[in-house]
Amino acid sequence: MSTLTPLDPRPVTTRALAASRRERPPARRGAARRRAMLGAAYAAPTAVMVGVFFLAPLVLVGWMSLHRWPLLGPPTLNAPDNYSRISDNELVRSAAWFTAKYTVLMTVLLFVVAFGLALLVQQRRPAVGFMRTAFLMPMAVGFASASLLFLGLLSDEIGPVSDLLRSLGIIDGYVSWTSGSPESALGSAVVLVLWRFAGFTMLILLTGLQAIPLEVYEAARIDGATRWQTFRRITVPLMRPTIALVLTMMITGSLLAFDQFWILTRGGPDNGTTSLVMVIYREAFIRLDLGSAAAISVVLLAILVIFNVVQLGVLRRRS
């Protein structure tokens, strides 16, 4: 830039004025550039990590999906076989249907429970600190550990749940919660996820609730709004960005469910609780066909991206 300055046809005063308007006199321009280089240097580790471990695998998974790619041995181009085979795969179809069903069920239940908890602990009242800690505590247990915990909790050998329900007369005889029927296996996983994630979801909703100014509630109270009206007309609309964030996280998490079914139900009984990510794992490391696993991944990825873009679009239009 500074080498071009002599060619600038404008009078000196105008140039100085223009420069001062940009608040960047020529002498400081070099400093600004040096500072930009410094910033880029500090961002370099992030750029390398994102480039090598995120963007490269993203391209690679697309590339792999076009090949017959065995776990060992050289890949050969076979496009579009991996994709056309997806629709013939009976397991993929049942897993896709199951995953969709699970996502809807889980999102609705988790949202209702977490919102309820957030409303319960939003104000400073006696025992609220204890409640918050109790709801957040499961978050400290890893999800795989939590799945094992529930495997024991729901087992007939050492778990108290069956005994408790029997003594209350709700069930009789032997019930195998995690492998008896697809419905009870799904129910077990739902309870596990509610326990593990309700507190975390509550925490995010709480940040949104507390960002609503108290005066707004005060005004509603003066206008004589009922509790329900206040919730419908003030809390929910003002919480929209937070709700959108929570919904996105819950839906994405549910579509990618793995640990709970892999550990708790083993995908059974009769593949009744086999999720899409479990099928990807099975294609890659049990059937040793990485190309087919990559193709299913790409389809799942496309669904997620479309979903997130639509969601963001809706959110932007509304706000």
Binding site: A36, P45, F53, V61, A134, M137, A140
Partner: protein, 269 residues
């Protein structure tokens, strides 16, 4: 929002406390079940956890500690430098890099782990704890970078300028002035990285394939999935408690700053 009457205060207290106990009971039960033996209480189940054929070994614990240390250290390093860059500097490509980093959240990792498995193989990092840690660091970046950018942006400009007047270069400003100011953010990022890496299951399942490199989580889950006959539930619960105790202790000590860091960082930007 609405003035609480005595009756509603009681309903609130009782409902909340009952729910809190319901949420705590699985944790308390697992501790109790892990200590209960055929004749009373003791550490027998823990003994079986460490000695049975499919049980965990000291090197599994060591592997977990290695992965957690590498992931926490790496995440803090990259996120501190990155957060400083995004929060305090303007440079070409800044907004694009920030958006791409956040996009990691939108492309959850189950879908790209198959490719990462191949990629790490090409880099000579298959079945390696370092490779696993690098992947875990990458997955921590969206949250960590977001958090640290907000933390650095919140530091008053005057603090930085006065340091520069005193002759500090940008790196000395970072280490002497900025780091103490962003400590709550660092605690949150570090704790989150530890909790995730210590108990992560899916990434190690795909990226590690010899029992020598297994982390404790993999080894404990293996006790369930590798058993064809009956499952040793009591030893399994001992494993759950063994995995959970470090996390619960850390969580108890840091819950306050963790939640504060979360609430201050989550809504801005």
């Amino acid at each position: 929002m609405i003035r609480a009457t005595a009756a509603s205060r009681w309903t609130h207290g009782i409902t909340g406390t009952a729910l809190a106990i319901l949420f705590l009971s699985p944790l308390l039960w697992s501790g109790w079940a892990s200590l209960r033996t055929g004749t009373g209480f003791g550490l027998e189940n823990y003994g079986r956890l460490f000695t049975s054929d499919n049980g965990i070994r000291p090197h599994h614990v060591f592997n977990s500690i290695t992965v957690s240390a590498l992931t926490v250290g790496g995440t803090l390093l990259v996120a501190t430098l990155g957060g400083y860059a995004f929060g305090r500097f303007r440079f070409p490509g800044r907004d694009l890099l920030f958006l791409v980093t956040l996009a990691i959240l939108m492309v959850p990792y189950a879908t790209i782990l198959i490719a990462l498995y191949v990629l790490l193989g090409w880099m000579g990092l298959q079945d390696s704890l370092i490779g696993l840690s690098l992947v875990l660091i990458m997955f921590q970046l969206p949250f960590s970078i977001f958090m640290m950018r907000n933390s650095f942006e919140a530091v008053p400009r005057e603090l930085e300028e006065s340091a520069q007047v005193d002759g500090c270069n940008s790196f000395a400003t970072l280490t002497r002035i900025m780091l103490p100011a962003v400590r709550p953010g660092l605690v949150t990022v570090g704790l989150f990285a530890f909790l995730t890496s210590w108990s992560e299951f899916f990434a190690p399942l795909i990226l590690l394939n010899s029992t020598d490199t297994f982390t404790t989580t993999l080894a404990v889950v293996n006790m369930r999935t590798a058993s064809h006959g009956s499952i040793d539930y009591a030893a399994l619960e001992a494993g759950v408690v063994f995995m959970a105790v470090p996390c619960l202790i850390l969580f108890a000590f840091m819950q306050r700053s963790y939640v504060r860091g979360f609430t201050s960082g989550a809504l801005k930007g």
